[in-house]
Structure formats: structure tokens, C-alpha cells
């Protein structure tokens, strides 16, 4: 790994993050809030650090990143984004403890949407805007934005390192063009959802914030009770639409907008499974709600769809306190946390493509008992699956479970209840946000001990970057042998 080269690239990305702090800065100035200097200082520090890194390692800047380098780059970038993103919270005195600010910042940038902010409504507009902006940036990916703005020689490596799902999907010959069209679609989606929120009766500031966090499937809200605060069916339906759209593979939009190929939706197995899972879980939860809770027919349907979508797309809004629902409904939501939406979407979590691969693999292994010489017929999007990808996917699943187990153990050591341990772990690793019990949708994580906040923050980063980049960057530091062979600190 060429650490210095990576750091020089991190510097460039920090400038981008620093620049994004101008959005809350302008917001604060518009609302003539005193806290505007917070963003100015944070931006200055971030951009200053960025320039420092670039200057320090200027002579490495033109080298090409290898794939390990870009994994390290993506991990460091996201880590620094979370670290520097907490500056506004610290300077504005939003939180008493640093871990809380870090948690909030990490949860924002990774679009998890778990919050430690007990009273959101008391915060200045600038801080609220910053929370939403971090999610909006993280939704489509910081590196993807970077190569869209500044295409360089290492664009492909950066795109690969941040791409979501078991296999990389490139829409145009050049990675930078792909990144640009992805961000364009993302922008269009945001504008559409913003317009719909305003039409449904939301005020403009809330609509901007919610459109940011909806299309990013993030889940931060400007209200304490999240979407439920509005008590407005139209707004909930807009959120349902926005979350559903956010969970779809963006390449499908590309085919429709760019090539006018609507039938790609029909052809995509992942989309069909996504739709199927949503319908199935909604039906079960809906019927359970009708029996056990006294919702009216339409409200019940809306709430069940809303909650299923908020979990499967890893958004984390709430249209009602699902923690009060019957056990069956809550268990189903817990299972959904491990499903995730389509690969190539703005969501976190396992991704349906991975489940499709795992399911095919399971079927193949069973069939192989009967036909030992059977040849693998695993496919994804009509193309044969390379054995490496299958293995990587099964390993991904194992590692996912292992990480969840370690986290549950660590949280248990801090005397956290069983429900919180399990649901909190799955929620943060899956990028959902709210969990169950004391960390449920009507509560926040603010009561969690500082250690728990750090553990959960780590889960968010692992989950958002889909584990491998973080492991590739961190594990070599633990293994001395790998360390000696692969790390080149010398020039």
C-alpha cells in the first residue's frame, strides 16, 4: 500500500467535504442564526487539513492507485468525513460528549440514521441542514461524487472500491461518466421527492431536509417524531415512494432515462425479488396489525408498507412507533434488517443480489449431493458467476454474522439488554437506524454508554462500505507477515 499517495488523495476529498459545509453555512446565514461561524470554522479546518495533505504529499499525487490503495482510500475518507463532520456539532455544543458527536456524524455520513439527538426540534436550522447534508453526500457516495467532479487516472479504482453490491456495475465506458450520470439521476430524484413533499404540505425547509434524507435512504428527520410528526397521509405516501425508489438499482433508472428501456425492470430478477419481499412482508404484517392493533384498513396498510420500506431500504424513518407492535411484526422487521434492498442503490445492508447468489449456491450444493458431477449454473443478471464472486459473497455473509456476533458480545459486556444488543447491532450494521426497545423509533441512542456508541459507529462504517474495504485496510496492520510483505512505507 502506498500510504502517502492515499493520503494525498484523502486531502482532495477533504476539500470536497469542507466545501459541502457551505450548505449549512448558507442556511444559517439565511435564517440569521448565530451559529454560522461554526460551519465557517469547520470548513476552514477541513479544507486546511486537505490542502496540508495535498501539499505534503504533492509528489505522489500523479501516481495511479492500486485496488488495495483505493480500499484504504475509501476507508480513510469515510473515517475522516465522520471525524471532521462532527466539528460543527462540537463547536455548536450540540452534544456534551465527543463520542455522541462522532456517533451522530458517522450515522449521518453512512446514511444509517441512528440518532443521539434527543430534541431535534430545538436545534438551529444550520445544524439540521448539516445532518441532512451528510446523509445526502453519503447516499450516492463521496468518492463517486469526487470522480464525477474531478475525473482522474484512478477513477475506475475509486469507483470499484465504493460500488455497492456483489459485482461492480458500470453504465458507461468511463467510470467518471458513470459517476456523473448516477449523481445526475440522484439529483433528479431529490428534486422530484422535494416537489412532492411540498405538494403534500411540508414546509420548504423540512421538504429540503427530508428529500435529502429520503433519496439517500438515510432517515434523519427535522422532527422528534420523524415523519409521524406530520400526521399527514400524503407525506407518508411520498416518503414511501421516495424510499422505494431509493432502494432500486440506479442502473435501472439509467436504462429508462438514457436508453428508454423500461423492460429492464421486468428483466431484473433483483427488482422482482425486492418487490416480492416488500409485498410478502407487508401482507403478513398488515394482517397481523389488523388483528392485533386497532388501525383502520387504510391506515394499517400505510403503516405496514411504510415500516417495511423504512427497514428494507435501510432508511430509518418512522410513521408510528413500531416498537409497540406485536412480537411477530417486530421479529419480521428484525429479519428485514438483514435483507437490504437492491445492489447499486443508495441503501446499505446485505443487498438482495447477495441473497440471490447465496440462495443459488445453497440450491447448487444440495443438488450436488444427488449429482456429484453437476456443473455450477449460478448466474447473476444473465451472466455466469465467477467462483471468486460466489466465495466472496459467502465469506461476506460469514463475516457479516461474525461481526454482528462480536458486536453483540461487546454490547453485552456493557450491560445492555438483549433486545437492544441484537436489534441495535443488526440495525447499525445494516444501516437502518432505529432499533427496538430503548433504542426504538420513538427513542434515541443517547442513553447508550460511550463505548457502545463507538462499537455501533464502527458497525456503521463496516456496513456502509460493505466490510471488505475496511478489512483490507485494517487487517494488514494486525498481521505482521502481511504487513511486511505488502506495506511499502518507504518511498
Amino acid at each position: 500500500m502506498q500510504i502517502k499517495l492515499v493520503l494525498s488523495n484523502v486531502g482532495k476529498l477533504l476539500i470536497l467535504i469542507g466545501a459541502s459545509m457551505l450548505i449549512p453555512l448558507i442556511t444559517a446565514i439565511i435564517y440569521s442564526e448565530n451559529c454560522w461561524w461554526v460551519f465557517a470554522v469547520s470548513a476552514a479546518i477541513t479544507i486546511g487539513l486537505g490542502i496540508l495533505l495535498i501539499k505534503l504529499f504533492a509528489k505522489y499525487a500523479h501516481q495511479k492507485l492500486s485496488i488495495q490503495d483505493s480500499y484504504l482510500l475509501v476507508t480513510l475518507t469515510w473515517f475522516f468525513a465522520a471525524l471532521l463532520g462532527m466539528l460543527p456539532y462540537l463547536l455548536a455544543g450540540t452534544f456534551n460528549e465527543i463520542t455522541a458527536a462522532f456517533f451522530e456524524s458517522m450515522s449521518g455520513i453512512t446514511t444509517v440514521g441512528a440518532s443521539v439527538l434527543d430534541n431535534v426540534e430545538a436545534q438551529p436550522h444550520g445544524i439540521l441542514m448539516w445532518r441532512s447534508t451528510t446523509q445526502w453526500l453519503g447516499g450516492m457516495g463521496i468518492l463517486v461524487l469526487f470522480i464525477a467532479v474531478l475525473p482522474g487516472t484512478s477513477a475506475l479504482q475509486m469507483y470499484k472500491a465504493e460500488s455497492m453490491g456483489p459485482v461492480m456495475g458500470k453504465l458507461l465506458p468511463k467510470a467518471s461518466d458513470t459517476a456523473r450520470s448516477l449523481w445526475l439521476i440522484y439529483l433528479l430524484n431529490t428534486m422530484l421527492i422535494f416537489a412532492l413533499y411540498v405538494l403534500a404540505g411540508m414546509n420548504v425547509f423540512d421538504a429540503i431536509n427530508h428529500s435529502f434524507t429520503t433519496v439517500a435512504t438515510g432517515g434523519f428527520s427535522t422532527r422528534n417524531a420523524s415523519i409521524a410528526a406530520y400526521q399527514n397521509a400524503a407525506i407518508e405516501w411520498v416518503a414511501i415512494l421516495g424510499m422505494f425508489m431509493g432502494g432500486i438499482n440506479y442502473s435501472l433508472y439509467f436504462y429508462v432515462l438514457h436508453n428508454r428501456r423500461v423492460d429492464e425492470f421486468k428483466k431484473s430478477l433483483e427488482f422482482k425479488v425486492y418487490l416480492g419481499v416488500i409485498v410478502l412482508f407487508t401482507m403478513i404484517i398488515y394482517s397481523k396489525l389488523l388483528i392485533a392493533q386497532d388501525y383502520s384498513v387504510f391506515t394499517g396498510l400505510r403503516h405496514s408498507i411504510f415500516q417495511v420500506l423504512t427497514i428494507i431500504t435501510t432508511t430509518g424513518y418512522a410513521s408510528c412507533d413500531f416498537d409497540q407492535w406485536s412480537l411477530l411484526a417486530r421479529y419480521l422487521l428484525l429479519i428485514l434488517m438483514m435483507v437490504g434492498a437492491c445492489s447499486g442503490s443508495t441503501t446499505c445492508g446485505m443487498k438482495i443480489d447477495r441473497h440471490i447468489i447465496l440462495f443459488q449456491k445453497m440450491r447448487y450444493e444440495v443438488e450436488k449431493f444427488f449429482h456429484p458431477r453437476m456443473v455450477s449454473h449460478l448466474r447473476l443478471k444473465g451472466e455466469p458467476l465467477d467462483n471468486t464472486i460466489v466465495l466472496r459473497t459467502t465469506t461476506f455473509f460469514n463475516t457479516y454474522i461474525l461481526i454482528a456476533a462480536i458486536s453483540i458480545y461487546l454490547l453485552a459486556c456493557m450491560d445492555i439488554g438483549l433486545m437492544e444488543c441484537v436489534s441495535g447491532t443488526l440495525s447499525c450494521l445494516g444501516g437502518v437506524g432505529p432499533a427496538m426497545g430503548q433504542w426504538g423509533p420513538s427513542e434515541t441512542y443517547s442513553m447508550a454508554p460511550a463505548g457502545a456508541k463507538l462499537v455501533l459507529s464502527a458497525l456503521m462504517l463496516l456496513g456502509r462500505l460493505e466490510i471488505y474495504p475496511v478489512l483490507v485496510s485494517c487487517l494488514p496492520l494486525l498481521y505482521k507477515r502481511v504487513h511486511q510483505e505488502k506495506l511499502h512505507f518507504e518511498d
Partner: protein
């Protein structure tokens, strides 16, 4: 007629032979000296050594006077180019052999007027379609449909325990007179017999029965055949025929296993087929066949590139209790022999392709043609038109058809008539004529005389 054939492979040779026997002027362009020599020695055609897409060469044989160009070399692109050239010289009708599935199906190329191809023929696909037809009715050796599928002809093998053995045809007809059917021909010891009422059916015969498609199941039952359902099919050899066939069978929901030696090829098959189980192994490995349940296979098909292996493995499968075996054999001279040895059905894809091309060439006069028993008999479907004055409004008995040529069915206003000597032909009837090979020219003769 003046015909140019590009490529003297199995298909080209076969077509050239038939066309030349029918009295046409045939030019055959072949690249390989050896092949050209074989043609020169055996066929009454003119063979030219060279490239079929060479315009100077084609001009030297006066391509502008030709009515027909058939490009059947191994090379798809060359065949297409030859047809394109033929278009420039104003040749009426062109046929190209195109094996690559990327070109021949749902492709703009196939219908591109610039290519000027009237018929694209894919031998492997033709073979797969033929096998699929047989699979639909597994007790039959061969299946043919006429009159848009309303009339059907089956070739059935008569075993010694069949109730109709040693009975004369008239009695069989009387015994089962609830349905109309006709025994159009009997294949006995490699000879086709057009039977009369007092002919007897013997064990080991193959009979051709013709009847209404919707009644065929009951007719078969009356003759002592039960229609078995095919569920599991085992294919050895992952050739193109196997791929096309598996695609067709998958659509019908049948269980297909393909055994293929080459791993890379297995991967391709596994990717392109949805449900079929692809096994990487040697098809001649008895243990593998047994483990994969050859004894339970309703149908065992060998489709490797190697004729001898196909025959051997098919015979072995028969020993291991596979219910029915089909083998692909390219050397068509072996075919009659092999069915005698115990393989239920044998076929040669190239022969089938040649038949398909001939069918196409004759289809101006005939609605459809089926070639039976490697060409020893043919069945024609003809539309009776006003110009055929000698046939219309006469009792069949008075038409004085030679023995060996028989009108076996008439489709009149959607009604199927199995005719007797008392029936008459009307304008607008579709008639099905069965004829042995020696009388093929007579059929055309009769039709032409009426003009």
C-alpha cells in the same frame, strides 16, 4: 432449372444428388480438391474448384442464368456473402446454411434484404426440432403433421406381443371402425410396402398410420399402443443440437440432464440453460450413467461429435434399461443398419438439413413435404386447384394411381376424410399423398400435366 450449390459437404452433396436425379443442371463449387473429386466421380453435375463468394468464378459458370443458389459450406459468413452476391446477379432463390445462433434467430440479419437470403437453415436446430417432435409422442419412431397440424402420421414399431400382429389390415380396420385411420405404409426389411386390405402385419414391421390428430391417442390405443409420458431425458454430448433440444424441452417442463466432457463447455451450457442439470463427465462412463439414473431415463439421446461413441453409448444405455434411445449418426449410410441393431431412432443432422432444403425448394408446388425412412418414401400435401382438371370430380378408383402412390387423407372445409375408392376430389381440398421414392417424379408429373 439451373442450380448452384456452394460447398460439397454432406448437405450440399445430398441436395446436388437429388436435384440432379430430378433432371436439373447443377453446378457445385467446392474449395477442397478431395471433395470435388468425390463429386466428380459420383454425381452427374459440374464441380468447380474455388471459393463460392468469388464473383469471377461465379460469372464463369453464368450465375446470372441460375434460378437457385444454395450456400451450405461450414462457414456461415461465406454462405451469407454468396447469397448476397447471388442477389446482385438476380438469382431468384437463395438458401444459406447459418449455424451460429447469434445470426439466425430474432436477428435483423436474417431478414435484411441486402443479404438476399430466402431460407436460412440451421442443421442443428432442425435436428433438435425433429427430436422434440418425436419426444412428444415417445412410442412413435417418427411423427409428421399435415394440414396445419390437423392430420398426423405416426411411424410405429410393431413388437411381437402386439395384438394386431398376424392380422390382415381389412380386419383391423373393421375391428376399430369408430375412428377413421389408415395404414398408409408398412416398412418391412428396409422396404416400403403400400399395403392393400389383405396384407398382413408381421412382428418387426414398422407401420405408418395416418389419422386425425385429435383422435390419434384413441387410435393408438385401439392398435395396442399406450402413450407414455416422457419425464426425464438424458443427453450425452453438449453439442449445439443438445443445447437447442434442451431449450425446447425446458420450455415443456421436462427434466433434462446433459453429460459433457469439456468443463468449459459445461459452464457455457449451464449459463445459457435455465433448469437443465449439466454434468461434467464422460458419457461412456457406465458408473456415471448408472449414478445419474440411466435406468429411469425415459429417453436417452447421444449427441456427441463422434458417431461411434454415440452408437456405443446408446447401445449401452439400452442394456442399462433406458426406455428409448436416440443416436446422432453423421454417416447416413449406417442409419438403417443401426435401427436394426436396437437403437430406437437414429438421425443425421445434415441429412435432415438437406431434406429441409429440398422441402423448401418444392414448396411452390406443394404445401408440405415429409421425407420418410431416409428418403425411401415421401409424403406430399397438395392443394387441389381448378387447373388440375384430370383430378377433379373423379372417383379415386378411376384416377388409376400406380401402386406405391396413395391419397391417404383429404382435408375438406376443416373436415378430415380418410378416403376410399369411392371418394372424389373437389377444388379447394388439401390432399395428402404418400409415395415411395421411385414414384416421386410421377407425382410431379401428374400435377404438371394438369396445367
Amino acid at each position: 432449372m439451373r442450380a448452384i450449390i456452394i460447398g460439397a459437404g454432406k448437405i450440399g452433396y445430398n441436395i446436388a444428388e437429388t436435384l440432379s436425379l430430378e433432371g436439373h443442371d447443377v453446378f457445385i463449387v467446392e474449395r477442397d480438391e478431395e471433395r470435388k473429386k468425390i463429386v466428380d466421380e459420383n454425381l452427374d453435375v459440374q464441380a468447380i474448384l474455388g471459393n463460392g463468394a468469388d464473383s469471377k468464378l461465379l460469372e464463369s459458370i453464368e450465375i446470372e442464368k441460375a434460378d437457385l443458389l444454395i450456400a451450405v459450406t461450414e462457414n456461415d459468413e461465406l454462405n451469407m456473402l454468396s447469397c448476397m452476391l447471388a442477389g446482385q446477379y438476380g438469382v431468384n432463390k437463395t438458401v444459406a446454411r447459418v449455424r451460429n445462433p447469434d445470426y439466425d434467430k430474432d436477428n435483423k440479419l436474417a431478414t435484411n434484404p441486402a443479404l438476399n437470403i430466402d431460407l436460412m437453415i440451421n442443421p442443428e436446430r432442425v435436428a433438435a426440432n425433429e427430436i422434440a417432435k418425436i419426444i412428444a409422442i415417445p412410442e412413435a419412431v417418427d411423427v409428421n403433421y399435415f394440414a396445419k397440424g390437423k392430420i398426423m402420421m405416426l411411424e410405429l414399431q410393431i413388437e411381437a406381443d402386439n395384438p394386431i400382429v398376424n392380422k390382415i389390415l381389412r380386419d383391423i380396420q373393421i375391428m376399430h371402425n369408430d375412428y377413421h385411420f389408415l395404414v398408409a405404409a408398412i416398412s418391412r426389411k428396409e422396404e416400403i410396402i403400400i399395403p392393400r386390405g389383405d396384407d398382413m402385419i408381421l412382428a418387426g414391421d414398422r407401420i405408418f398410420i395416418i389419422g386425425r390428430t385429435d383422435q390419434m391417442r384413441s387410435i393408438e390405443k385401439g392398435l395396442g399402443f399406450t402413450r407414455k409420458k416422457v419425464n426425464s431425458i438424458m443427453i450425452v454430448g453438449g453439442s449445439r443440437v443438445a443445447f437447442y433440444l434442451a431449450q425446447l424441452l425446458e420450455k415443456k417442463g421436462l427434466e433434462v440432464k446433459i453429460i459433457e466432457k469439456d468443463y468449459k463447455h459445461c459452464r457455457v451450457l449451464a449459463t445459457d440453460l435455465d433448469e437443465a442439470i449439466i454434468l461434467n463427465g464422460d458419457g461412456s462412463d457406465i458408473d456415471l450413467l448408472q449414478d445419474e439414473g440411466v435406468a429411469n431415463a425415459d429417453l436417452f439421446i447421444t449427441l456427441t461429435e463422434d458417431d461411434k461413441l454415440n452408437v456405443l453409448v446408446a447401445l449401452m444405455a439400452k442394456r442399462l434399461n433406458a426406455k428409448k434411445t436416440i443416436a446422432q449418426v453423421r454417416r447416413s449410410d449406417y442409419l438403417p443398419l443401426l435401427e436394426a441393431v436396437g437403437i430406437d431412432v437414429t438421425f443425421s443432422p445434415r441429412l435432415l438439413a438437406a431434406e429441409a432444403v429440398l422441402k423448401f425448394l418444392r414448396s411452390q408446388d406443394f404445401l408440405s413435404i415429409s421425407v420418410l425412412e431416409q428418403g425411401s418414401a415421401e409424403v406430399y400435401e397438395i392443394l387441389i386447384q381448378e387447373r388440375m382438371k384430370r383430378l377433379i370430380n373423379k372417383k379415386l378408383r378411376d384416377l388409376k394411381f400406380p401402386r406405391g402412390m396413395l391419397i391417404v387423407a383429404i382435408l375438406r372445409d376443416n373436415d378430415v376424410i380418410i378416403p376410399s375408392g369411392e371418394d372424389e376430389l373437389l377444388v379447394g381440398d388439401r390432399i395428402i399423398i404418400f409415395t415411395v421414392a421411385e414414384l416421386i417424379h410421377r407425382v410431379e408429373h401428374i400435377l404438371r400435366l394438369e396445367v
